[in-house]
């Protein structure tokens, strides 16, 4: 088994222990982003027939979808809330894709909550997973006060609906303030950084 597969399996294994409504901080390195994606979307959500709502503030939903398809991950149950395409003026694909909802800017945090709420209501699956990719990207556009408030309201709302939340953070770009903000709302932390040891 390769290191990559091991990391992905390790993430999926830890996620499987979660109880409904849990929120998890998943700290990763830039280098193992693909392992995280495989572990979360394919080995965890995919195996449990969960609808995944993927909030992307880092790269466009198109790029993420391409990556997932290259990894042979089934994207039929992944719904994107894309906060970045609009400010890059690249909305054409998202407007045609039924699995993508656009938020005009990553500063419109309320609209992210509204799109997630809409997709949760629309979802027919019993279990739902919301992935926020990533807190570091949202922190570029928002101050810590409003971001902290956003996480608190969003995660509390998702908990009440028994949806799972995974907040991704990139180790290389993280600050103690961001780590504190995420820890405050999460029940558990998973580290998938380069030097993370198998537990």
């Amino acid at each position: 088994m390769t290191d990559t597969t091991k990391t992905a399996e390790n993430i999926a294994r830890q996620l499987k222990e979660l109880t409904p409504g849990s929120a998890v901080s998943l700290q990763m390195s830039v280098d193992n982003y693909l392992d995280v994606m495989r572990g979360v979307i394919d080995m965890y959500a995919g195996k449990r027939d969960m609808d995944t709502i993927y909030v992307t503030a880092t790269i466009s939903f198109e790029a993420i979808k391409r990556v997932m398809q290259a990894l042979d991950i089934d994207t039929s149950r992944v719904y994107f809330v894309d906060c970045i395409s609009h400010i890059m003026m690249g909305t054409a694909a998202a407007q045609k894709d039924e699995h993508a909802s656009l938020v005009e800017s990553p500063t419109m945090l309320e609209n992210i909550m509204l799109k997630v709420e809409y997709l949760i209501r629309r979802s027919g699956s019993k279990e739902k997973l919301v992935v926020i990719d990533s807190i570091n990207s949202l922190a570029i556009h928002n101050n810590n006060w409003i971001l902290s408030e956003f996480l608190h309201i969003m995660v509390s709302g998702l908990r009440s609906k028994e949806a799972y939340t995974i907040i991704l953070s990139v180790e290389e770009h993280s600050t103690p303030e961001i780590a504190n903000m995420v820890n405050l709302v999460c029940d558990q932390g998973i580290r998938a950084a380069k030097d993370a040891k198998e537990e």
Binding site: E104, S105, T107, M108, L109, E110, N111, M113, L114, K115, E117, Y118, R121, R122, N142, N143, W145, I146, L147, S148, E149, F150, I153, G157
Partner: protein, 264 residues
């Protein structure tokens, strides 16, 4: 009857009643019903006010559709827009079924055709004509047994009334007529984008039982649609500002985030 709390002290374990004992008209808009602790108190006349593009008509229509779906006869009186056009422009609500219109559960009436039928052709209505108009609306509500009514917009009617006295007279009479018929009503009011008032003529807000303000709020270059309940007789309610989105599953609301905002 509304519960009036007049003593400052509550014995340990006794919470003040939050909602009174008024029967509720559940709007069906989850967020709004939560803000209102269960819905609009029955028979209230509510002013739904805001500038253009804030979602007033969509929210008012959703209120009626939910009512019709729940088995309550609902009446939409359109003043400015042709009802057919309105229906084609409506958000494709997942819960809207044209059968509601065909069966007469949800009725659309164009006020200009009502003016014509009543012979009200002049640009300004007289006091007698106001009485006639209120009676005609009352008859319509009675005939169809409407429990919910939306008039979109009251401002356009007020332009035909001209004076504050006539506007006051019209709204008071209309409100009383509808309330006596157990009809919970929403009167849509238009205000200018930069206006700090809740209505164009300054009269409408004072004589309504409730005011729901919808607005466009700019924050760091982003334009957010907001909703705030300013007043609602017969119930406690949140006075906070909420951000809304118009979606095929209806109006969705989330709290406005305050961190880092300038307090606007």
């Amino acid at each position: 009857m509304e519960t009036i709390i007049c003593g400052p002290l509550y014995s340990q374990g006794t919470m003040p009643p939050r909602t009174g004992d008024r029967e509720r008209c559940v709007t069906g808009i989850d967020g709004l019903d939560t803000i209102l602790y269960g819905g609009i108190p029955r028979d209230n006349t509510v002013l739904l006010t805001g500038s253009c593009g804030t979602g007033k008509t969509s929210l008012a229509l959703e209120y009626l559709i939910h009512g019709a779906v729940a088995g309550e006869n609902s009446l939409f009186i359109s003043v400015t827009e042709d009802s057919e056009k309105l229906l084609t422009n409506i958000i494709p609500y997942k819960f809207f079924d044209r059968e509601l219109v065909k069966s007469g559960r949800l009725v659309f009436v164009d006020l200009p055709s009502m003016y014509e039928r009543l012979g009200m052709t002049k640009s300004e209505l007289t006091m007698e004509e106001i009485d006639l108009l209120v009676a005609a609306i009352g008859n319509l509500v009675k005939e169809m047994g409407a429990r919910r009514l939306v008039m979109d917009s009251i401002t356009s009617v007020c332009y035909k009334l001209k004076t504050p006295e006539k506007i006051r007279d019209f709204i008071l009479k209309l409100g009383k007529t509808l309330s006596d018929m157990n009809c919970t009503s929403i009167l849509v009011s238009e205000v200018a984008a930069q206006s700090s008032a809740y209505s164009t003529f300054g009269v409408e807000e004072a004589i309504s039982d409730g005011i729901v303000l919808m607005a466009n709020m700019e924050r760091r270059g982003d334009l957010l649609r907001t909703l705030q309940v300013i007043k609602m007789r017969g119930t406690m309610h949140s006075r906070a500002k909420y951000v809304l989105d118009l979606t095929p599953v209806g109006v969705l609301l989330v709290p406005l985030l305050k961190g880092g905002s300038s307090g606007t």
